[in-house]
Symmetry: C2
Subunit: 142 residues, 2 copies
DNA sequence: ATTTAAATTTGTAATGATTACAATTTAATA
DNA sequence: TATTAAATTGTAATCATTACAAATTTAAAT
């Protein structure tokens, strides 16, 4: 058994654990989301996976992402209008989008403060935080 | 001079201050954004203002909002994909979107903590925070 | 006041991401 | 192997946004 197959088996098990039948397409899409850190959009995901699965349809990418989101193993990033991106890291973290190069960075946050948590009788399921500005690299190149 | 005209004059002055020529359309759109607290989308804004300006075009609403955003007197709210909303309150505050009724609430936040502010050489221009869940009203009605 | 130029508004068409849906293919079960 | 269900695919429809040119309004100049 090769190392590659071994990793795919891990992903298959992970998908099963969350009630998703691990088809080849689903494994490949999730694998890509896990290893990439660029928070890709549907088009980027499609263009990448279609190299491996030439018959892949963009509808499958949409369907697959929908089920991932529904099961809670992928998070949607909506920073810019008309630019939906996806993130396989569902742990609590913030996003920084560089207005110059467009890159999205992750950063750690801590939402433990009571004055943010206490919304007086509201039930909070998701917390999203994102900043916009200019990244280190772009500032350097000016 | 009526009270209504007086308020419109205030808005006209405000727009001028930010380098926007205060046309009737622009005044009405900004006035509506200022008084409403529901963070409306383009369609809602259009449907409301067209009652007063029957010749209004949706393109004008888009153009006007773009210039408001460019000048920094209106903020874009992108919580849901394909649901861009607008807010004339550009002061720092968070948004809570109820998954049940869809309503967006404002809440106060304080971003003074160093561990959130310090992104190590990154220049932060905008900070956005939003939560999702179920609001007080919807929880009560269950 | 009239003319000219610039800015704004308007309407229609184009774009592009997402969704709907039916047909095809694949996988699971008997 | 035959049957059924699930997943994938491709095409068409939808819907928000943008592009763009024509019409209108406003401002400036004469």
């Amino acid at each position: 058994m090769t190392l590659k197959e071994y990793k795919e088996q891990d992903i298959a098990d992970y998908l099963k654990k969350y009630g998703i039948k691990p088809s080849y397409q689903r494994i490949k899409i999730f694998e890509y989301l896990r290893k990439t850190k660029s928070h890709p959009n549907v088009d980027v995901i499609f263009k990448e996976i279609v190299k491996v699965i030439p018959t892949l349809s963009k509808t499958t990418v949409y369907n697959t992402l929908s089920s991932f989101i529904e099961k809670g193993i992928v998070a949607v990033i909506t920073i810019e209008e008309n630019e939906t991106r996806y993130d396989a890291d569902t742990s609590m973290h913030g996003h920084f989008k560089c207005k110059s190069c467009g890159k999205i960075y992750d950063f750690d946050i801590n939402f433990s403060r009571d004055d943010i948590d206490d919304l007086g009788g509201f039930e909070v399921d998701e917390k999203h935080l994102y900043f916009k500005g200019n990244c280190k690299n772009c500032l350097k190149n000016k």
